[in-house]
């Protein structure tokens, strides 16, 4: 019944209210949604809020389409109909122009559109990323600035909404609207209808993490509203050899104690000013190399022949935000809670790994090809990393130029470990010596183009020797062979392992199409199937993003053992922290052939210790304290703002109508007997 009435209602509205032959609402004709837009949002640390927010309901402003910096100055100087929302190319999103806009009362928001071809750099992290939680004097001194092009906007409180439009069609429609309504006689802009934009990205949280966490926990009503969530996700760890022995008959699991570990680590998150991240160079080049190393080592060392050294792969999450993932792991290690939470420092399944068990910590940082250089950063020289450097040089692939850089330490998880354990032997492999070669660090333009990635989907195609795939395979082989030699004491004499296919596929999965073979292999296709890069933003605690799950399972698949046929029993084999069992495809070429895999891989919480320590003193600045505001809607739409004259005209007409009608109706009513009485044609008695 309701439906009928509703339909009829729409019909009659159409009939009486005029105007359209289709079922649009009037609203649809007044607003153009800018669909492909993402916004900058708000985060907090212990003392500040950073990022952007609109007013509740959105910020409105007249658009001004700029192509060069002078356009921006022009409108700030000559605009008569404020407030404005400048639409600027990505190259204009600089510290300088944002400062200018912040000071101007005429600006209510900012929209950025891409112009890749002329972009020199686009990175909004700090010049010294994570400076406050780094080892002192590793950046900003001795001519070392890791991210010299960084604008630091990611960590500024911008104060007005900033949106990014990435679809060409949307940029065109904005531009057309501007040309049609705004881009002429600027003196008279006040007097006509102008094309405007509404940017809605209202953030519920404010001030800083302690404040907004407290506000989120106020139980004043039955449905407390969260205004912010701690940043957090999962760290992934996996080991080359099992950490425990498994007895097939008794199903008994016993930890293997007393082993030493070589840690191969990489970060697994990226950041961006906007609500979308890509992260091709950082972290994907390092991450993919790590996965390739895992694969090669598994092939070279399929079984533990009583080696005293095991290899531990760790992927740290949230490292862009003051190393929160590695801080948590160090915190857990100190308390005997790594790799698994224990009651009193011992576990019946797994050996408890402490920092003293780590002989060597190798971190893979940004590794895109550049000029073929790979720098080995050794913060402190010692017996272990000197020897390993020699091994790397011995086993180096011919296409690589290995160079050492002593005393330098680029931003990496190593900082967290060294701050706690000065004597840890560390190596950071990166393609830069004193500053990033990556001009798009932690931004949306750190995409496949940035690392010159091209997907080769036919195996017979000739692969250029300077391709990123080739380069990463060479690095992975070099590292793997060195680790092989370190673990076994014997040099690996056979040729390189050809992993081109795997690396090619991995990069494709992470950078271009989520619905790729590898994700099908591990049976974890993301829910949102889209041919978009994987979103590598750390996200908020309790809402683990797809990326970390996928990467974890791929790592598990690469280091896992086939223990039997694939069947239901496989996943029913008693799960514990030492082993996990999954049915997965045997390889990428045979997706339908599945086997039962046993993997030594698991996730640990990557939430800063600041959020789990009872009564943590926020001013102590010991741990990362980033949290993210919650928000409702995030959208942008174009509309036509009526001129003041038009508004006053409507109001005047309306007011005249109501005043006169009151007068006239009163008059008619008081004279109705004369007006409507046929007899009243004769003059009525004066005294009646």
């Amino acid at each position: 019944m309701m439906i009928f009435a509703k339909n009829g209602l729409i019909l009659l509205i159409l009939k009486l209210v005029l105007n359209s032959c289709n079922g649009d609402r009037i609203k649809d004709r007044m607003y153009i949604d800018v669909k492909a837009s993402t916004s900058c949002f708000r985060r907090f640390n212990a003392t500040h809020q950073v990022g952007c927010s609109s007013q509740r309901g959105g910020a409105n402003g007249v658009i001004h389409f700029c192509t060069k910096e002078s356009d921006l100055h022009f409108i700030l100087k000559n605009g008569t109909a404020g407030p404005y929302v400048p639409i600027v190319p990505a190259s204009l999103l600089t510290e300088k122009s944002v400062k200018l806009l912040k000071l101007s009362p005429k600006v209510s928001g900012l929209v950025v559109y891409p112009n890749n071809e002329t972009l020199n750099s686009f990175t909004h992290d700090l010049k010294c990323p994570n400076e406050n939680f780094a080892v002192p004097n590793t950046c900003g001194k001795n001519e070392i600035t890791w991210n010299p092009r960084g604008t630091g906007l990611l960590f500024q409180d911008i104060g007005f909404p900033v949106f990014f439009i990435d679809l060409y069609e949307d940029v065109t429609s904005v531009k057309e609207c501007f040309q049609k309504f705004n881009n002429f006689s600027y003196d008279t802009q006040r007097d006509r209808a102008l094309c405007s934009i509404q940017l809605n990205s209202f953030m519920y949280g404010a001030k800083n993490t302690p404040t907004c966490i407290r506000r989120s926990n106020i139980a004043t009503n039955l449905n407390p509203m969260r205004v912010c969530d701690p940043l957090g996700s999962k760290n992934v760890w996996a080991s080359l050899f099992p950490l425990a022995t498994y007895n097939n008959e008794t199903e008994e699991v016993k930890p293997i104690l007393g082993q030493k570990y070589i840690v191969v680590a990489s970060r697994s998150d990226a950041a961006s000013l906007f609500d979308r991240t890509v992260g091709a160079e950082s972290p994907i080049t390092g991450l993919v190399t790590l996965l390739a190393v895992a694969k090669i080592l598994k092939q070279l060392l399929p079984q533990n022949k009583n080696y005293t050294t095991n290899v531990l792969f760790i992927l740290f999450n949230g490292e862009s935000f003051d190393y929160l993932g590695s801080q948590r792991i160090v915190y857990d290690m100190e308390r005997g809670n790594f790799p698994v939470e224990t009651e009193n420092g011992t576990s019946v399944f797994l050996p408890v790994i402490k920092a003293k068990d780590i002989t060597l910590f190798i971190e893979l940082s940004q590794l895109s090809r550049g000029d073929g250089h790979v720098f080995i950063h050794r913060y402190k020289l010692d017996r272990w990393n000197t020897r390993f450097t020699d091994l790397l040089k011995i086993n180096s692939h011919s296409s690589l130029t290995l160079a050492t850089s002593d005393g330098t330490l680029p931003p990496s998880s190593v900082h967290t470990f060294i701050r706690k354990y000065q004597n840890l032997s560390t190596l950071v492999l990166a393609n830069h010596e004193r500053e990033y070669s990556n001009r798009f660090y932690n931004s949306i333009f750190d995409n496949s183009t940035n690392i010159n990635f091209r997907y080769f989907n036919r195996s017979d195609e000739l692969v250029p020797i300077d391709s990123i795939q080739y380069h990463l395979v060479a690095i992975a082989n070099t590292i793997s062979k060195s680790i092989y030699q370190e673990v076994t004491g014997v040099r690996y004499e056979d040729g390189d392992v050809d992993l081109f296919e795997l690396v090619n596929e991995l990069l494709y999965c992470f950078l271009e199409d989520q619905n790729c073979k590898l994700h099908q292999v591990v049976g974890k296709i993301p829910q949102k199937q889209q041919d978009q890069p994987l979103n590598l933003y750390v996200g908020v605690d309790g809402n683990t993003n797809d990326a970390v799950t996928l990467i974890g399972f791929i790592l598990g698949w690469l280091t896992g053992d086939i223990v039997g046929e694939s069947n239901q029993n496989c996943t029913n084999i008693s799960k514990n922290y030492a082993f996990r069992f999954y049915n997965m495809s045997v390889d990428m070429a045979h997706l339908n052939v599945t086997k039962c895999f046993r993997m030594v891989m698991n996730f640990t919480d990557a939430v800063s210790p600041a959020f789990i320590i009872e009564g943590y003193d926020w001013s102590s600045n010991l741990y990362s304290s980033w949290s993210e505001s919650t928000w409702g809607d995030m959208n942008a739409r174009l509309f036509l703002k009526p001129s003041a004259a038009q508004e006053s005209m409507v109001m005047a007409v309306g007011s005249i109508s109501i005043i006169f009608s009151f007068l006239i109706v009163y008059f008619i009513k008081s004279r109705s007997d004369i007006l409507f009485c046929p007899t009243a044609t004769q003059p009525s008695p004066v005294d009646c």
């Binding site: 009435a5 509205i13 159409l14 009939k15 005029l18 409105n60 409507v650 046929p678 009243a680």
Partner: protein
């Protein structure tokens, strides 16, 4: 932002009906009841139109089809109100204080029910538009122009007034069994409604000018039907 436009449009469309309500309806409970009843009957006609539109699914896209039948249903329900009011008249006289005027001047009932009809139809046609007028934007970014809201309001005002006039003439026609008047009413309703179809070409003057002209003519006719004349008009202007 354009809350100003919203208020302006609302004043334009609903100001005169409000004034009429305040001065001519509000003092008498019986009139209020009749007004509400008439509004309810307009809703019933809407419901029936929707049923009809829903049943004849091949023509759902055709605005003209729905429009014509909607007009027919509205006029039919005007007839129903007439029947009911004439039947109820005796009962009404018992409960009203104002017996003499309600009974002696049959046009009052017609006027009150017509206004109820008009107010409800006006509300349904304009409220959705007004709801969208509150936002920051105005019409014209894709198509249409800035005059959209004000012409919509003016059209709505015309329709409210027209419904009032039509009811007065319609009741009179039925009282006097004047079929010519009856047909004229239905035709003029049809004509005015069809004129609104021109709005899709966005030449608003093409609709608003003829509609207000017809509204004026119908008003004069209703004035005459209700007993007014040029002389009475003149004499009412004379100050006593």
């Amino acid at each position: 932002m354009t809350v100003v436009e919203f208020v302006g449009c609302m004043f334009l469309a609903f100001g005169p009906p409000f004034a009429m309500f305040v001065f001519t309806i509000a003092h008498d409970p019986v009139r209020i009841i009749i007004l509400i009843a008439a509004a309810f009957f307009w809703l019933l006609s809407l419901l029936l139109s929707s049923f009809w539109w829903f049943i004849v699914f091949p023509l759902r896209k055709d605005l003209v089809f729905g429009l014509i039948f909607s007009v027919i249903f509205q006029e039919a329900f005007r007839g129903v109100i007439y029947k009911i009011l004439r039947r109820a008249q005796v009962g009404l006289t018992k409960i009203t204080d104002d017996t003499t005027t309600l009974i002696e001047n049959k046009h009052i009932l017609a006027y009150v029910s017509g206004l109820g009809f008009g107010i409800m139809s006006g509300a349904f046609s304009l409220i959705n538009v007004l709801a969208d007028a509150v936002g920051p934007g105005t019409m014209g970014i894709k198509s249409g122009n800035e005059m959209f809201f004000i012409t919509s309001s003016a059209t709505t005002l015309c329709f409210i007034l027209l419904h009032t006039f039509w009811s007065v003439i319609f009741f009179d026609a039925l009282d006097k069994k004047n079929n010519f008047q009856l047909i004229a009413i239905v035709l003029s309703h049809m004509l005015v409604s069809c004129l609104t179809l021109l709005n899709k070409y966005q030449v608003y003057s093409a609709t608003i000018v003829p509609i207000s002209f017809i509204c004026g003519l119908t008003g004069l006719f209703a004035f005459k039907v209700a007993g007014g004349s040029y002389n009475s008009f003149k004499s009412c202007l004379v100050f006593r």
